[in-house]
Symmetry: C2
Subunit: 287 residues, 2 copies
Amino acid sequence: MEIPKGKLIAIGGNEDKGTEPEPNFNQKNNLNFFGLQILSRIVHEIGGHDSYIEVITSASSIPDEVGQNYLDAFGKLGCTNVRVMSIRNREDAQKPEILERIKNCNGVMFSGGNQLRLSSIFGGTEFLRILQHRYLHEDFTIAGTSAGAMAMSNTMIYQGSSSEALFKGEVKITTGLALIRDVIIDSHFVTRGRFGRLTQAVAANPSCIGIGLGEDTGVLIAEGRYLEAVGSGLVIIIDGHHIRHSNIADLKEGSPISIENLVVHVMSKGNSYDLSTRKFSAEVTSA
Amino acid sequence: MEIPKGKLIAIGGNEDKGTEPEPNFNQKNNLNFFGLQILSRIVHEIGGHDSYIEVITSASSIPDEVGQNYLDAFGKLGCTNVRVMSIRNREDAQKPEILERIKNCNGVMFSGGNQLRLSSIFGGTEFLRILQHRYLHEDFTIAGTSAGAMAMSNTMIYQGSSSEALFKGEVKITTGLALIRDVIIDSHFVTRGRFGRLTQAVAANPSCIGIGLGEDTGVLIAEGRYLEAVGSGLVIIIDGHHIRHSNIADLKEGSPISIENLVVHVMSKGNSYDLSTRKFSAEVTSA
């Protein structure tokens, strides 16, 4: 498979869904639960303060507020060339002006909200084709928080309560933006107790590495394989390749699941993980 | 080490702490979140309906209500010889009448509440010595739910929020009733998202196997080693013996933890695990 020249930055955070009003969003400095330290790293990876950054708020049910909040936050970091794309449906995503902008920017930032909005608005569009192409062939950075992080992979969780997540059928999976394959990304991981949810997703898709992102925590993914933990919290890696027994195929919906031999790593800032070799390292590794 | 002739039954459930009023306790048929199916198994293991069972409510802040609730529940199962021990402090635990009762009963049931009450009331007492001796040398069953389950092991979690549990120092450990060694038992595991809490406890005590019990779910432990999952939910086993890197020793309090290579099993009813060989089995194994 081709080695992407671009980078992904997936950040955990508030993944308010559907028409929920994202009640905590307007807290001061609150960018769906990640701080300026991570935003600063995003700016650095995109290319610095002068870079042309597009904020994509399509996942959100309150895109104007969210967009303004990102403009303010990037502004605090001295960024002078940040714009918000107003894309609410598939028609918007196909406008020539929008396509021109996605071709010309230096990087994008997907906000939180509902990841199904992202997959249903962008799936199969020219917009997504350009995004994928630029990520593969250019030094182009795609950042996303929460829903914007969860939608990056091919296999995407879109529903599943934490408390019931180890009962079969409770975790719903669909296809995301497919910027990266063979991973499943979950957000808001530590606070909401989503170990069971990601575990079920990994057991049902054992070729995928589960990446659980805490709040104000994320991973930078270089060359489509090298993960570096960033931010103040934890990244949980769930590797299902060593699963021996799993009853997920034979089980009735709603029955409890049994799984033998998941390998789990707990990463904090500066730790890294290679998706290809499936090796954890306490230091930052890269090409 | 000596092979215990007795059995332990550790059940997950509500672990209301300190002086909290256990608000959900008085729901109909609610025994700190486990059902009559498990209670029926407890009765069976203790020796049937005619067995003399002592209910120990010392962990609870509302021992009378809790005791009555257990009497009602055991009564529904046709048990005719169940008594509640009123032990509120170390003096109570040393009364000759109480010691006589613990020598004569066929099995005991520890209620939920605060596990620190159990360790501080019973630690180092003649009462506990009798309990340990009967468990080792007789076909004697000790059941416990929630706090009563968590207190069974030598290494006992007594505090630690779920959301902060992967930051060093957030999980507090002390010595439990030491009926079993080299395990750490956590309760209410799936609903409250306690993966991080048990993970930190295991990383700091890697000789211990972590046993995370869901609500209405438990393990029957025979010969001090054979675990059988019982009830309607899940038991999560966390094995820290394969941990390669862990920064827990060098870390400042409050900093995030990193851990490489935890082995995790998800067990449901009928699955078993051998603490000595650290092997999962989809079937019930025993001596």
